[in-house]
Amino acid sequence: MSAALIVRSAGPGPSVQDRGRPGWLAEGLSRGGAADPLALAEGAALLRQPVDCAALEMAGIGGTFEAEGDLVLALTGAPMRATLDGAPVVWNATHALRAGQRLVIGAAEAGVYGYLHVAGGFATPLRMGSRAAHLTAGLGAPVAAGERLPVGAPSGAARPGLVLDAADRFRGGTVRIVPSAQTGLFSPEDRARFAATDFVRDTRGNRQGVRLVHDGAPFAAAGQLNILSEIIVPGDIQMTGDGTPYVLLPECQTMGGYPRIGTVVPDDLPLVAQAAPGTRLRFRFVGLDEALADYRQRRQGEAARLAAGVRPLVRDPAGMADLLSYQLVGGVTAGDDLGEGE
């Protein structure tokens, strides 16, 4: 029997995600896929496997998992407190999970979406070319307690005890936006005010999009109520009826009639998706030429750059309470490098 990950308990609505299902916009299905695509790429680099392997996306809190067969796994995205048979394990790292061992992933310390990857990827059924659950479209379903997630054949390249320095995108910040189809319907004054406003991620948000709140006047576009519905895409910032922005994420609808003040550039969208409720965000308009140049530069050798950032997880033996009880390169730490204790 091939290996599998058994889900003993799970937080709210974890789902299997990959890079989504592009190409169905004309049929009304948005791309979907991981809310933080960079976390998928990081998991692939850590496990030395293709970036299209499916992973488990966990929103806010993880769950309890057991291995059926020996697994190598990686943890990326929003850092969550995790233990393996009771011993703390490092985030953004690979670990061995042997048959019967128990991995417990707790709440996110920052950010929203954490990812559990396995060497070989999850081999759940392909639907319309992807394993990604598209919850708003009714494609697939959240992963529930008791479920057995089959694991694909690993390449053999994955090793436990590797770590990656991940870009911190879990605490909000400034997000770059470029013009969208209705940017010109907003007055120059309102666009300037938009770029000067501190927004806070509202409690309302999911894989479709997140609502932002701010102090001060609402933002309205000319002819706001009479806009003919047009295609909308992830990253678009819709100004909803009450004049508060709503940033669209991978499971957004495909058409909408709310005016859009701009579109978040793809490399900055994880900052929005990973903003937990209460996180501060600001927006900065950049020209298309500048945004394109930056996008192209980042794509050059991206996979190789991520792979080059993967290094052995080494710990300072002086910090270990009982040196003999630890594998020196095993991904298990004494816990004091994870910040405060329980």
């Binding site: 592009p22 190409g23 169905w24 916009l25 004309a26 049929e27 009304g28 299905l29 639907r127 319309m128 479209a137 009714g138 494609l139 470029v178 013009p179 969208s180 189809a181 209705q182 940017t183 010109g184 319907l185 907003f186 120059p188 666009r191 009479n226 806009i227 003919l228 519905s229 047009e230 295609i231 895409v233 990253g235 678009d236 609808q253 495909t254 058409m255 909408g256 701009g262 579109t263 550039v265 793809p266 308009f285 020209g287 298309l288 030429d289 500048e290 945004a291 394109l292 996008y295 192209r296 794509r299």
Partner: protein
Amino acid sequence: MTSAADPDDTVRPDRFPQTVPMGLSGMLVRFSDRMDDAANRAALAFRAGVEAEAWEGVEETATSLGSVFLRFDPLRTDHDALAERVTGLLARCDWYAAKLPPGRRLWHIPALFGGPEAPQIEEAASLAGLTPDAAVAELTARPVRVLTIGFAPGLPYMGPLPPHWDIPRQTALTPTLPAGAVVVAVRQVIIFPTATPTGWRHVGQTGFRGFRPEAAAPFPLRAGDEVRFHAVTAEELHRLRAEDPEGGGARSEALR
């Protein structure tokens, strides 16, 4: 198109068609900013024109009621290069007068109008100034065109219905209508692919599924197709649904 970076130049409300950037990897070609049959036909024809060109870097196209969206790979092309090609193609003919693209189908879809399974036909007919019988006769007399598909997967906006069908949405939402429900508002008809809350009025019921995730062709309808409703009794609808759980007895033929 050096203007792309300046938001003030991205919308010129007096002139159509307009070509505007939509984010880093998108471009919108807008034929109207209001519901207009000629603009919808232009969008359908122009999208087929773009598909036929198979431009380098264009990964996906889609229409809405009055516009065409092009998604491209920013590593292979950019807004300036694409805008130039779009402008050239726009100039090639009068797209508002262009023939609808080939490959469209005419669908015949059995539908039950009225009764407990489609309870708002009287209300909708009254708003359109018709008797319920006359309303059903108009809804079944001739095909409606799939103007666009979207909002939800496989959800077709069909029309245009005659002007007296310009009835508003309800102010209150109906909490949920079943899959296959036929609803009307603003000169348009929708068949819901899945159970949906709505402000549109529930005038008919079909056994037609517009989204079939497990099927080889998950989306039976395409923008530009025509749909003709055929009134059936409740008994016929139930029999058709039992015989054909996904299609509800619908059949299609090629349009020439």
